[in-house]
Symmetry: C2
């Protein structure tokens, strides 16, 4: 496995790897890898001749009061995980390498980005769109792999790729969860022991909501009310948002609409704070129509055999 | 020479042409080709194995009160010129083909676009950045050719390419002029006979300004005052802007600065209206430093041997 830190090295290595029409799979990350990232690397490895991982904590997608400075990092461990997953090339650029001068150009996806995490984190998706564009241009992958935990990010990037005719296939991959249901996230290490216990309320509520959604008279607003009541049972939980939207358009159905009358795929998306730590999770109500890649009813669990869980005790 | 009208045909044709590592040169245009476009095609032909021309009048870069509907078109003549210039492939998509749905994504270059034509035509450069991104992704050229008549466009696109790490070399090419000095433009056909005569004031003023700029006590504001007085001598000319800026940063020097003390390349850029027709022209004061491709002191003239002048009598 090769590691490169500059665009020039990357270009050189890729031009060697790309020879003979080899297919390139790409997994962009901010590092501090967990089993969710590992599942993307393994999927890329299975689909392509060459797998490229990038590790870059992108300042553009952090707000001024967000956790850029304390975002967890462990390059040595990341490199070991990448190697075990059969990654061919790891690109670990510095901020200076990615932004040698103040960039004047932004790739902006409108409409999809003014809700959910876009509303809570203004400018976040402009930073995501811009850095993903840069990485796509630098690596020119045939396929790029993204986890559905960041479902809005997947929708935004797919829209960007479609609108700008980028020659890359976006492959959404299932959420990977701890045995108790918590969605894996690099930010889970921030949680105190008590918050970690309570954080399971997100996945439990999503699971419960799938049952409520099948009740005959269930409306959008009634479902969301039940979801919020359920989350509030966790004493430390502070809801940022709980929304039911069409996916991937992220348009809101009428609050009074009966769920059984809504034909398109819907996403139930949650963002909940525990102290300073903001967790997100989601579930698709009609997964099969969203993407053949996403198997929502059959989500992956980080079992004991999957070593890269994000439980605090496993991570540091 | 092949003509294709869909993204699918284009992809197929390019994949054949790209084999064996062939170098692709690309000339994006809005059609109604003149000798300026022809010079870009010939330059691409000389530099690359394969030359691709696109003809697309991009609605995104026209304002609501601009000349989208009456923009001149002559596909048959364009195709003949392209063929004579040795073009390999012409891409002529419909609006529906380029924008099958309302695009939500914009590629926006800040700062460079809030002045000159960007100030006069709000949103124009967002449309340019977005469509050029799309075309670059569809064609994936090694080099792309742009005329320096649209000097701000060249600066904006070069900035976009740098900021987003697009794998394409931008090649700026010299302005091509009528024998009397008028810069070639598809919009020159709009000019009445009287306006056509007066329109020479742009190039004559730029030429004169090169001499004024060498006067020992000449300042930015004094030069611009002389430029404006000179243009106003044409009775029908209405100045939109006349500015002296650093190039390609498009930052303004101090008005009181002595030109002889300004070390960086400068551009003198003009936009002048004759009736409803808005013409632009420019000259670099220190051309050699801007780009080795641009030979400002040696601008190309559309001589009688160059058949694709935009003189009204030659065009229709």
């Amino acid at each position: 496995m090769n590691i490169c830190r500059t665009k020039a090295e990357l270009k050189q290595q890729l031009s060697d790897l790309r020879k003979d029409g080899k297919q390139i799979g790409f997994v962009p990350t901010m590092g501090y890898l967990h089993e969710g990232h590992a599942s993307l690397l393994r999927k890329s490895k299975a689909d392509n001749d060459v797998t490229v991982l990038s590790i870059f904590v992108n300042p553009l997608q952090f707000g001024p009061h967000e956790d850029l400075d304390r975002y967890p990092r462990d390059e040595k461990r990341d490199v070991a995980i990448a190697e075990e997953c059969g990654t061919d090339l790891v690109f670990i650029p510095s901020v200076q390498e990615m932004y040698p001068e103040k960039p004047l150009t932004s790739v902006i996806v409108n409409q999809l980005t003014d809700r959910l995490c876009g509303a809570s984190r203004p400018g976040h998706f402009d930073g995501v769109g811009t850095v993903v564009s840069k990485l796509f241009h630098l690596i020119q992958p045939n396929r790029a792999y993204f986890g559905m935990k960041d479902a809005q990010q997947v929708a935004v990037i797919q829209q960007m790729v479609n609108d700008l005719n980028m020659p890359v296939e976006i492959v959404p991959c299932p959420i990977v969860r701890e045995p108790d249901g918590l969605a894996l996230s690099s930010r889970n290490v921030y949680l105190s022991a008590e918050h970690r216990l309570q954080a399971v309320v997100l996945s439990k509520t999503l699971q419960q909501a799938m049952k409520w959604a099948n009740e005959p008279e269930m409306t959008v607003e009634r479902l969301l009310a039940k979801v919020k009541v359920n989350i509030d049972k966790a004493s430390e939980a502070v809801i940022d948002y709980a929304e039911l939207l069409y996916y991937p358009s992220l348009q809101a159905p009428e609050p009074v609409a009966l769920l059984q009358n809504l034909k398109q795929p819907l996403i139930l998306a949650l963002a909940v704070k525990f102290g300073a730590t903001r967790l997100i999770d989601n579930r698709l109500l009609d997964a099969m129509e969203v993407s053949e890649h996403v198997q929502n009813d059959d989500e992956v669990q980080a079992s004991p055999g999957n070593r890269y869980g994000s439980e605090p005790e496993l991570c540091r």
